[in-house]
Amino acid sequence: MHGGSPLEKTPLGKDAGRQALERARASLGKIILDKDQQIALALACLLARGHLLIEDLPGLGKTTLAQALAKVLGLSYRRIQFTSDLLPADIVGVSVFRRDTGNFEFQPGPIFAQLILADEVNRATPKAQSALLEAMEEHQVSVDGETRTLPIPFFVVATQNPADQIGTFPLPESQLDRFLMRLALGYPNAENERELITGEDRRSMLESVAPEMTAEILVTLQQDAAKAHMSEHLVDYIQALVRQTRESPDIEIGLSPRGAQALAAAARAHAFVERHSGVFPDDVQAVFAAVAGHRLKPAGDTSFRSPAEMCQHVLDSVAIP
């Protein structure tokens, strides 16, 4: 894919991976302005082998972020625009009859890429959504009774427009759980918006941006991130947070054990991205809203304006051991 790239000559040492990650982060920061936190979270999500759901209004840079990630990390990239008439076969691919060979030949769908942008995922029918979510879960697809493995790494960035209500099929909670994180990008500040208006077009910037690492380096980084040191105290903290989500009268459905695992994995990856000596409480707090926000269901009579506020409420009521 990247034949002739200078990266292939770079030794796959630990430091090399680390430096590549730093460069990738810096490069992303140049494209997506003033979103350091979100970039760190997206990278952490990727390093934790999770999938990312970006929920925001159109025009806030969701697509740009996904594309930039693919480009900078040197991953193969495909975009699937979810519409109401999208069929599962449009995602995973179909077997077509080849007259010259007399055989059916599999035509891989867009899912066979390392980074998938599933745009406006809530506009497709549940059937099409399921095809994507199954692929995310199983890391493989079955077509015509044949199981085909998806590439490694495999990373889905799905976007969702919260303002669209008519003719949409919002993902049910059970499926939201498949995404490690849910992010919102939000508006840029005035200064950065000015930069966006006057500066170089992001699309053309993306074309000129150079990949900073390869899929192989990313896989080693993923392995390293999973090994980030987590002290007993921090496990205590995560458990206390999870317990708080379950016991708080303001929350109807708390975090499941899978949610707790997700929180730990995301915190590890975040600590790795931030180059901490171990997982700090700050890492847990940084990923908490992104990991827990879409997994928690507030109680009916509470007045949280957003999931983020609910998550902050949980963080504010648990002491750090």
């Binding site: 040191h229 002290s231 105290h233 921090l234 205590d236 901490h276 000596s277 171990g278 997982v279 700090f280 409480p281 700050d282 707090q285 963080l315 504010d316 009521s317 648990v318 002491a319 750090i320 051991p321």
Partner: protein, 651 residues
């Protein structure tokens, strides 16, 4: 059924602790228990442990039941009763041994530990020594540790179990102290503990036969302690009068039973010289005799009377340590007149038993000018001829005095006293044997005198017209140092070399004296805290003439207050889960910053606030926070911890 009896080795970790606690609880009982019970307990402990090791089933119920029955009968057979401290603790011990055999779960171990606590407590029913307190504390800590180790799911470090149990005992200490001070003490307790009257207590008995006192001479046990108000009497005046014996059957001397009413003997006492005032703390003897310096004049002990032979006795036996004040006159004359009936008492002896002695006495009397001269002649004979004073006299047959005087010529004080009295009687001089203690060692550590069982002594009194009963000590004629320095002194002075004892034993002796002084203080302040002392203490506290209701209320209020205080202190001290060094250091840092972190505020966020709002230098705040995060949440790093410590100390 067989399945249920099986063991799976799950108790392997906690069982040794339970066994250790049980063994420790049994320790003070061992000297009193029959050997078979100790052996049974040891066997059961080893048996049960090997069952656990080999994961075998515990013995079947039928076997256990028959063993229990057999042991019960065994206790009954050994003691003839099941009530009292001895049989009670024996039953408790043997049932603990059998409970071991049906211990399958942790729950059973808790029962065993309960029994251990009862065993520890019941040892106090026998005697409360100075070492009882450390023993109690260690015992309770040990049992609690075994408890914690049984209850712990995973194996927590031993240090933590020990720490927890020590802490628990420490929390309970103020409560125990308050209860000890304020629990109403009543002169006669509501309950009476049946004391084993059968168990031997070393001390004098009611009769004296050859060998009785020499058996005592090896016992270092304390007979009583004396505190003199003023000058301490000279060694030759330290005769502690106990009982007086006048009946002789040729071998054994016996006397009248203890007086139960005042005999009026004081009327026959003529005092000369200065009185001696002193206080005696008498160890339990299970006898009635009360010891006082020759010759007692006044004493302060309830239901105690002076017998016709000037011996003191209490109506109830001395089953517990008693303290009494007394006044004695070392210089005295008694019974200037001797009633003919009484005179007969002191002249009687079985003619047939020791014929050679009687014959010798008569011929010596014939040779002497007067009674007094005859007394001197006999003493001279003891002194000049080859008579020896020994702790291990050879056995004497059915004519003990004859055999002693003419054949063995080696004896202890009772041999000399017996022979002397017999010779006097044979010559027609009224004589009797007085048994008590002679000597006593001044303890420089506590400024009091210790009289030991080893100081037990027998001497004579002879009645001479015009001077009444006069004390004569034939042992002094044979071994003057015995009387001058006391047996203990003799052992450690002149004869020390002969005994093969050198300087180390002098040091040992000093240690023994120090230990005894501590014991005396313990007796005085702790065990002596009875109704009088309590009332005095209450008065001192400002409670005038408190009745037991008032004291009970005080106690309840105090215990409630203390419990609340201790709980409050614990609540204030409580910190969630185990805190490591880094957390404690960080807390110091937070305190120094003068700010309070909000719930859920991470150290980083706090540091940003501290940089703005606290007087601490911003760079220090930042570097300390970073180091703290690395130490606490990163991989273990001792060097970093040290840096954190010095950085925080430098603030």
């Amino acid at each position: 059924m067989a399945r249920a009896r099986g063991t799976d080795g799950s108790l392997l970790a906690s069982l040794p602790w339970t066994l250790l606690a049980l063994a420790f609880a049994l320790l003070p009982h061992v000297p009193y228990l029959p050997a078979w019970i100790t052996a049974a307990l040891l066997t059961c402990a080893i048996w049960r442990y090997s069952i656990e090791v080999r994961r075998k089933p515990v013995p079947p119920a039928l076997l256990r039941a028959s063993l229990a029955l057999a042991c019960f009968i065994g206790v009954l057979y050994t003691y003839n009763t099941i009530s009292g401290v001895g049989p009670g603790s024996a039953l408790l011990a043997i049932m603990a041994a059998l409970k071991l055999l049906e211990t399958r779960q942790r729950r059973d171990q808790f029962v065993l530990l309960f029994i251990a606590i009862f065993l520890v407590m019941s040892s106090l029913l026998r005697e409360q020594y100075l070492w009882s307190l450390p023993y109690l504390v260690i015992g309770v800590v040990l049992i609690m540790t075994a408890w914690l180790r049984t209850a712990a799911d995973d194996l927590e470090p031993l240090r933590r179990s020990l720490g927890t149990s020590s802490r628990l005992v420490m929390y309970a200490a103020p409560l125990a102290l308050a209860m000890w001070i304020f629990f109403p003490r009543i002169a006669t307790p509501f309950w009476a503990i049946p004391i084993d009257t059968g168990t031997a207590v070393s001390g004098l008995s009611d009769t004296i036969s050859p060998g009785d006192i020499s058996a005592l001479s090896k016992s270092d046990a304390v007979a009583f302690r004396v505190k003199f108000d003023g000058k301490v009497p000279e060694p030759q005046d330290r005769y502690w009068r106990g009982l007086v014996l006048h009946r002789f059957d040729g071998r054994t001397w016996s006397g009248i039973s203890e007086p139960r009413i005042s005999s009026g003997a004081l009327r026959n006492l003529e005092t000369l010289g200065e009185p001696v005032h002193y206080e005696v703390t008498l160890e339990p003897t299970r006898q009635h005799w009360v010891f006082a310096l020759d010759i007692p004049y006044h004493w302060e002990l309830d239901s105690t009377f002076l017998g016709p032979q000037h011996q003191l006795a209490r109506v109830q036996p001395i089953d517990q340590r008693v303290a009494y004040r007394a006044v004695s006159y070392p210089d005295y004359r008694i019974d200037l007149e001797l009633h003919p009936y009484r005179r007969g008492w002191y002249l009687e002896f079985p003619e047939s038993r020791n014929p050679r002695t009687a014959e010798l006495a008569r011929s010596m009397r014939a040779a002497a000018a007067s009674d007094a001269a005859f007394v001197r002649a006999v003493l001279t004979r003891f002194n000049e001829e080859a008579y020896y004073y020994t702790l291990e006299p050879p056995p004497l047959g059915s004519s003990p005095v004859d055999r002693f005087l003419f054949e063995t010529q080696r004896g202890f004080c009772e041999h000399y006293a017996s022979a002397f009295a017999l010779m006097m009687r044979a010559a027609g001089i009224p004589a009797r044997v007085v048994v008590g203690y002679q000597g006593g060692e001044l303890n420089p550590m506590g400024d009091y005198m210790i009289v030991r069982q080893a100081d037990a002594h027998a001497w004579n009194e002879v009645w001479l017209p015009g001077s009444g009963w006069r004390r004569v000590d034939p042992t002094a004629a044979v071994a003057p140092e015995r009387v001058d320095a006391g047996r203990t002194g003799a052992m450690f002075d002149g004869s020390a070399a002969a005994w093969g004892l050198g300087a180390p034993s002098m040091l040992l002796h000093k240690l023994v004296l120090t230990w005894d002084a501590a014991n005396a203080k313990w007796n005085e302040w702790v065990l002596g805290y009875g109704p009088e002392n309590q009332e005095r203490f209450m008065n001192w506290l400002g409670m005038d003439d408190p009745d037991w209701r008032q004291m009970m209320l005080t106690l309840v209020a105090l215990v409630t207050g203390l419990t609340m205080l201790i709980s409050l202190a614990l609540m204030l001290r409580y910190r969630p889960p185990p805190r490591d060094r880094a957390a404690i250091l960080y807390e110091t840092f937070v305190r120094k910053s003068g700010l309070t972190p909000a719930t859920g505020e991470t150290p980083r966020v706090f540091a940003q606030r501290a940089q703005r709002e606290s007087p601490l230098p911003a760079t220090a705040v930042r570097s300390i926070t970073d180091t703290y995060l690395d130490v606490r949440y990163g991989p273990p790093d001792a060097a970093l911890l040290q840096r954190l410590e010095s950085d925080i100390a430098a603030l």
